[in-house]
């Protein structure tokens, strides 16, 4: 049987769901970053798949830029995380409520 675009889309949505679950479940900030990575990759797959099936390179270009963004995001994210760790000694999500409403 032939792999159609919907297979890829279903796959990417499943991965997206897993990433989302991860984001929402995690209290530890680092684990949360992992989950965001998963989210980004899920979209990448979808982009790549669509660009492949409709024969248009812009999909892949987009994926490139996403990877670039992801990389820089991780760099900054971890840096902030370290600063936060220095201050509080813990990286648990619930401590971060100084911006309370």
């Amino acid at each position: 049987m032939e792999i159609t675009l919907t297979h890829y889309l279903v796959l990417s949505s499943v991965l997206f769901a897993i990433g989302l679950i991860g984001v929402m479940r995690r209290k530890n900030l680092l684990m949360l970053f992992f989950a965001t990575e998963i989210l980004l990759n899920a979209t990448n797959i979808a982009f790549a798949a669509i660009s492949h099936y409709i024969g248009d390179l812009s999909g892949q270009m987009f994926a490139f830029f996403i990877i670039a963004i992801a990389a820089s995001e991780v760099a900054i994210g971890l840096g902030l995380l370290i600063v936060w760790y220095k201050r509080t000694g813990k990286i648990d999500l619930d401590q971060m409520n100084s911006m309370r409403g």
């Binding site: 209290k27 619930d94 409403g101």
Partner: protein, 628 residues
């Protein structure tokens, strides 16, 4: 002549305001004299007006406009014509006597000045009621009289029962006044004005159903003021007030205002005979009803009050059957001897240190000679024995009943005449004859002041000779009221009837004398008679006051408490607060969206995302469906 009209009208008001100035301060007998003097001047001017009116002309004056909006024009207008001059005479004579009497009666009372201001104010509102030339002016007097009776019944305001009785009287009168008000509204919207002359000219060409309704509503007003059947309980309780008040208000003037209204509005009632029949039958019923209650009562003033109620019934019978001049004549005669009876009772009450139960007195004729003579003659007049006034006015009503072929009413009235004779002489016998039972209670009575007896003497004279005025009175009133002569045609029946009633009444008197003149024991509710159902029924006034209490006043109070506690606080107020709280609560719950907890915020974010996506999908699908 206008000057005398204004003097007659405003003299009592001046007297009232003068004594009101001293209202708070201690007793100054000056107020008594000034008030009585002014009343006397009002009486003199009424006499002058009387012979002016006897000369065949009337006085009609319009002082100033009262209310004038749209097509409504109500002036302060006063008219002195035949009917009102008779009423003025009655009012001024009785009130002058009562004023002079109460100088003596109230001399130990702290509120002496206040009493006179209320009493004169009462006479003023009665004069306004009687002399006004339109229904609105009548209504002013109507309510003014109600106010003064409230003030006077509740005069000794430290007594709980007095204030309760005052409020009951005022509220019950108010219920009747509502009926009258509606009657006045109907009159205005159908006739366009409230002036007597315009109304009585115009009333003819109104549809009968409207005239009937007007007649009924006006009669409801009369019923309340003259304490007819459903609204009669306040009269008995009104005896809480000082005795001169009962004499003036609850014997001679206020209670007769209802009769005056029916007599004054005779053109209306002529057009609606069936309402007349209803009034007559109600009057007959009340006559019998009140007389029965008086038989067993053990309070001197209440017995006299019931006898007034019964005589009012007589008057309404006459008025109902169209014999307006007979009703007015009985009103006049009755006012004299009933006021005399009350004042006599006042003397006895004073002598007995405010003791009211006749069974606790006895043998007072030796000590209170004057009062004994007066009360006996007044009772004789009340019973309607030949030479006295009662015979000419009361028996005339019996004749009217007979001539108009209302034999049921005639027999009822005849029976009531007997009962009246019985209970009035039961009272006289118990108080003045028999064994001095008051000695058991260590009371040593003394006769009233000399000038009080002198003050009462004019009433005594009038009670005796009032009958003789009948012819001159008839000529006077003939040109205003329908002057139908009531004569039983064949002489034999006439003589049988009159002699029969006389014998019946005398028999009742002798029976009462025999039964009560040598009474020696003070019944304490143990005797067989007092346990009988009939006695208990009459004693509790047919359980009507209790019925009113249970059916009207207590449920009204409970309903008001429910209205306040439940409806106002719990329902109406709660809904308002509930709306406010609802807004407050939503604010409260949504507050934790910003509570800084990142994971909840993430969840809300994803929730928002999902909702938006759902909307996007829904619209696109919807859009396509619509588009397709």
């Amino acid at each position: 002549m206008e000057l005398y009209l204004y003097i007659a009208l405003f003299a009592p008001l001046v007297g009232s305001l003068f004594s009101a100035l001293f209202g708070a301060s201690a007793k100054t007998s000056l107020t008594g004299y000034v008030a009585s003097g002014l009343l006397f001047t009002s009486f003199i001017s009424s006499v002058l007006l009387l012979n002016y009116v006897l000369g065949g002309h009337t006085v009609h004056v319009e002082m100033m406009t009262w209310m004038a909006t749209g097509n409504l024009y109500i002036p302060f207008g006063f008219v002195v014509d035949q009917v009102s001059v008779v009423m003025m005479m009655v009012v001024t004579i009785v009130s002058t006597v009562v004023h002079v009497y109460s100088i003596g009666y109230m001399d130990h009372d702290k509120g002496f000045n206040r009493f006179f201001s209320w009493l004169s104010a009462f006479v003023f509102s009665m004069m306004v009621l009687v002399m006004s030339d339109n229904f609105a002016g009548l209504f002013i007097g109507w309510e003014g009289v109600g106010l003064c009776s409230w003030g006077l019944i509740g005069f000794w305001y430290h007594k709980e029962s007095a204030t309760w009785a005052a409020n009951e009287a005022f509220i019950m009168n108010r219920i009747a006044d509502l009926g009258m008000l509606i009657g006045i509204f109907m009159l205005y919207w159908n006739v366009g004005s409230l002036q007597y002359d315009v109304v009585f000219a115009e009333i003819g060409n109104l549809p009968v159903v409207i005239t009937t309704w007007i007649g009924i509503f006006l009669f409801i007003g009369a019923m309340g003021k003259s304490a007819q059947f459903p609204l009669h309980t306040w009269l008995a309780d009104a005896m809480e007030g000082p005795t001169p008040v009962s004499a003036l208000i609850h014997a001679a003037t206020m209670v007769t205002a209802g009769v005056y209204l029916v007599v004054r509005a005779n053109p209306i009632y002529d057009l609606i005979p069936n309402v007349g029949i209803f009034i007559a039958s109600l009057g007959a019923f009340v006559a019998l009803f009140a007389a029965s209650m008086a038989l067993v009562n053990r309070d001197m003033k209440r017995i006299i009050a019931y006898s007034t109620l019964s005589q009012l019934g007589y008057m309404f019978v006459a008025a109902g059957l169209g014999a307006y001049w007979v009703a007015l004549f009985h009103l006049m005669a009755h006012a004299f001897f009933k006021a005399l009876l009350f004042l006599g009772a006042g003397n006895v009450m004073h002598a007995m240190h405010d003791e009211l139960d006749p069974f606790k007195m006895g043998g007072l004729r030796k000590v209170m000679k004057g009062t004994f003579v007066m009360m006996t003659l007044a009772s004789v007049a009340l019973a309607g024995i030949y030479p006295f006034a009662g015979f000419f006015s009361k028996d005339l009503i019996l004749e009217v009943g007979f001539v108009e072929h209302h034999y049921v009413i005639y027999t009822v009235l005849l029976l009531t005449a007997g009962l009246t004779a019985f209970y009035s002489f039961r009272l006289v016998a118990l108080i003045f004859h028999g064994e001095e039972r008051y000695k058991l209670f260590g009371i040593h009575p003394h006769e009233a002041y000399k000038f009080m007896l002198v003050a009462m003497s004019p009433l005594l004279v009038l009670a005796i000779i009032a009958g003789s005025f009948k012819m001159t009175y008839f000529q006077l009133v003939m040109n205003l009221l329908p002057a139908t002569q009531y004569h039983v045609h064949n002489q034999t029946i006439f003589w049988i009837m009159t002699i029969g009633t006389q014998l019946f009444v005398i028999g009742a008197i002798l029976f009462a004398y025999k039964k009560y003149s040598n009474w020696n024991s003070v019944p304490d509710g143990t005797s067989k008679m007092e346990k009988s159902f009939g006695y208990k029924l009459l004693w509790n006034q047919y359980y009507i006051p209790k019925f009113y209490e249970e059916v009207f006043s207590r449920p009204y109070l409970e309903l008001s408490k429910v209205a306040w506690k439940e409806i106002d606080l719990k329902i109406v107020d709660a809904t308002v607060d509930m709306i406010a709280n609802a807004i407050y609560k939503t604010g409260e719950n949504t507050r934790d969206i910003q509570n800084g907890n990142l994971s909840t915020m993430l969840r809300w974010m994803v929730f928002g995302l999902v909702v938006l996506l759902a909307l996007a999908v829904a619209f696109t699908v919807g859009y396509n469906a619509v588009g397709a």
